[in-house]
């Protein structure tokens, strides 16, 4: 046990680099030595530094993963956000090549006025393209468009040994399919080429209506998959009995050519953003203060109820909304997560095949209620399978649940997650590392399958034999 073989002459990493790096949900943090490279040479220098000091390197994009995916306690963390140049843009055919630190925000603002929109966007535009590729993110159009990986044509990746390789479906295709969704473990994306989506308006046709229960929620999705581009369901996790699973659905479609009388107007950036005050006169930057009193069970119950009944009263609503307003509503309520209080929040998002989803979700919602741990925000989406090695997607549904964390409920949340894991596994479901804080090794083996994990490990061994690239998540689930 005595640690004698410590090299006490090694140069140490400077204290000035030491930073507190929180999980996006704020329920945990780590200290890391943070480096912010702007060039590939600087990246390579950090690889050398890490080797010299016996430290591992974690990658971080916008840091929007809810848990520990972009954290690397007591080691080096590379904040990739300064590698944010657009390297090539071809407005004739919608191909774009970007550095990994380019954000979704930067991306859509760069291309929209040319008549393009990113084929997949996340619920916040603060994510980076590198981080989105690292998790293979999906949007509210996952059932139509698949994950972002389906739109990546090629990428350059810096390996732990300092070499750069190019990967696509034709070249290094095994690495291509494993590094997308590979959690920053196989290599560092340095350039990513994607195909953007042609749009003929800056607006979407949006329809909102309420659904009285879970079955109605499901039937809405099944009936509208063909005739829409985006659907998202928003559920009131407090509704019980016959009303279990009730909530709102938002459906949106691109406008066909000609439908927008003035597309060049609607695609202008100044016509995309939401006004800086919501609800009339309350400045958006302090809305979270008003939300805070409601972030306890009865408070959220009240809001959910009011929202549901207001929706029912006014019936289905149709409107045309700017893309940005439809996709990034949360970004216009800065710091909304502060409403969750000092303990932060975690998200639990299982993915379940369509055949077993309804029963499994019913069971999960009921379980949360029985355990008196209903979640505050539940978002419901439809997905399609893809061919990436560690994919979270399948032909079915996902339900993203936000749980508020306090000192006192931590243990109960952990136990609840274990119980939910069982339901998900029984239903042949899957999990999503971007959202995860609680997954256990054995659960990961159970849903991914040992052979998939072995394949991933074999690639890791080939591309990074010294295990230079690591994160808290990697050690927790695969370490």
């Amino acid at each position: 046990m005595i640690n004698e073989n410590i090299d006490r002459t090694v140069s140490i990493l400077p204290d000035e680099r030491l930073e507190r790096v929180p999980a996006w949900g704020g329920a945990s943090y780590s200290l890391s030595h943070v480096y912010r490279p702007t060039t590939i040479e600087q990246l390579q220098a950090v690889l050398k530094l890490a080797r010299k000091n016996g430290r591992s390197i974690g990658l971080r994009g916008g840091g929007n993963s809810y848990g520990d995916a972009a954290m690397n306690a007591e080691n080096i963390l590379l904040d990739m956000r300064r590698m944010n140049r657009i390297l090539a843009w071809e407005p004739e055919n919608g191909r774009i090549t970007v550095e990994p630190g380019v954000t979704i925000s930067q991306l859509w603002q760069y291309i929209l006025e040319d008549g393009w929109w990113p084929p997949v966007v996340t619920g916040t535009m603060m994510t980076t393209v590198g981080g989105c590729a690292g998790m293979n993110v999906h949007g509210k159009n996952a059932y139509q468009a698949g994950p972002i990986g389906d739109h990546i044509l090629a990428f350059d990746m810096l390996l732990a040994n300092g070499d750069i390789i190019t990967c696509s479906r034709d070249e290094n295709s095994d690495i291509f399919h494993a590094a997308i969704g590979g959690m920053g473990i196989l290599g560092i994306f340095t350039a990513i080429t994607m195909q953007m989506k042609r749009v003929y308006s800056g607006l979407l046709d949006v329809e909102t209506e309420t659904r009285p229960n879970l079955a109605a929620m499901f039937s809405y999705f099944e009936e509208n998959l063909e005739n829409s581009d985006y659907i998202v369901g928003w559920m009131d996790a407090f509704a019980k009995g016959d009303a279990l699973g009730r909530g709102d659905v938002h459906k949106a479609s691109y406008l066909p050519p000609g439908a927008d009388p003035a597309p060049s107007q609607t695609m202008r950036l100044e016509n995309q953003h939401l006004p800086s005050t919501m609800f009339g006169i309350v400045p958006k930057s302090i809305i979270w203060l008003g939300m805070r009193p409601f972030m306890n069970n009865p408070g959220t119950w009240l809001i959910n109820n009011a929202k549901y009944h207001a929706g029912r009263l006014f019936g289905p609503k149709r409107s045309r909304q700017p893309h940005a307003a439809f996709h990034f509503l949360l970004d216009y309520v800065p710091d909304w997560k502060k409403a969750y209080g000092a303990g932060g929040l975690i998200q639990y998002q299982p993915f379940i095949p369509k055949e077993t989803a309804q029963d499994a979700f019913r069971e999960i919602l009921q379980l949360c209620q029985t355990r008196r741990l209903p979640n505050y925000l539940t978002v419901f989406k439809r997905h399609r399978p893809d061919d990436f090695l560690l994919t979270h997607a399948l032909d079915g549904y996902s339900m993203a649940m936000d749980f508020r964390i306090t000192k006192r409920n931590r243990e109960r949340i952990v136990n609840l997650a274990r119980e939910m894991d069982e339901i998900v596994l029984q239903a042949n479901g899957r999990f999503y590392f971007a959202k995860d804080s609680v997954l256990r090794r054995e659960t990961a083996v159970a849903y991914l399958g040992q052979s998939v994990i072995d394949q991933f490990r074999a690639l890791k061994q080939r591309l990074d034999p010294d295990n230079l690239l690591q994160t808290n998540l990697w050690r927790r689930v695969f370490g």
């Binding site: 005595i2 640690n3 410590i6 090694v10 030491l18 780590s30 609680v438 050690r475």
Partner: protein, 255 residues
Amino acid sequence: MSMNTTATTRPLEPEKRAIIIGASSGIGAALAKEWARRGYIVAALAPDEAGLEKVAAEGNGRIHTYLHDVTNYDEIPALCQQIIHDIGGVDIVAYIAGIQPVVALDEYNFEKDAAMIRVNFVGAVAWLNQAAVRFERAQSGQIVAVSSIAGDRGRVGAPVYNASKAGLSTYLEALRNRLTRQGVTVTTVKFGFVDTALLENAAKTFWVISPEKAAQEIDTAVRKKKQTVYAPARWGLVSLIIRHIPSFIFRRMSF
């Protein structure tokens, strides 16, 4: 060098991680075992290999040991970083190391005196400065060090031991004043008599507690985020009296 060593963390089930400097015998050894029993991950440091191994053997695999003499000040920054890297973080740094060689009433031995200052005081500064930087960055963390009621007054029997502990207490007070506003707790534990090797040469003792009891006192003080505690508490009263004895009387006293 292996890249694999950093310990795993689970976001919602954080384990406490503690570094104990001076953990091969006496109070420090008992504290390492107490915290291992409570499920903490412990890094135990001292120069005595055999002592450390014994402590680790009773730690359910939760005690990681490091050979270290605090007077090797130069190695402290690198060693501190290495340990925290190995155990994946740190929540508590406990400075327990201390020596008290026998000093006769008419003895002015610089070697002994300097050794006490180096271990009891300078070593504490070297380690706790490291802790302070990290905890300030983290906006969280706990520092605890063992001082002594012997540091409350200078006495005929132990001038430099007294001074080293007085220095330590004052340093800790200043750290506390700097760090409280950064979310960091600094705890000073002042013992009376604890039944350890250090006490073997003491002339007369009373209210002696076991090292295990002493370890529990430290643990309680840390968990309650205390500032300064006398342990057991009645020593607080003794200290109050001692501190108020006028100098003209104190000069004539023999203890």
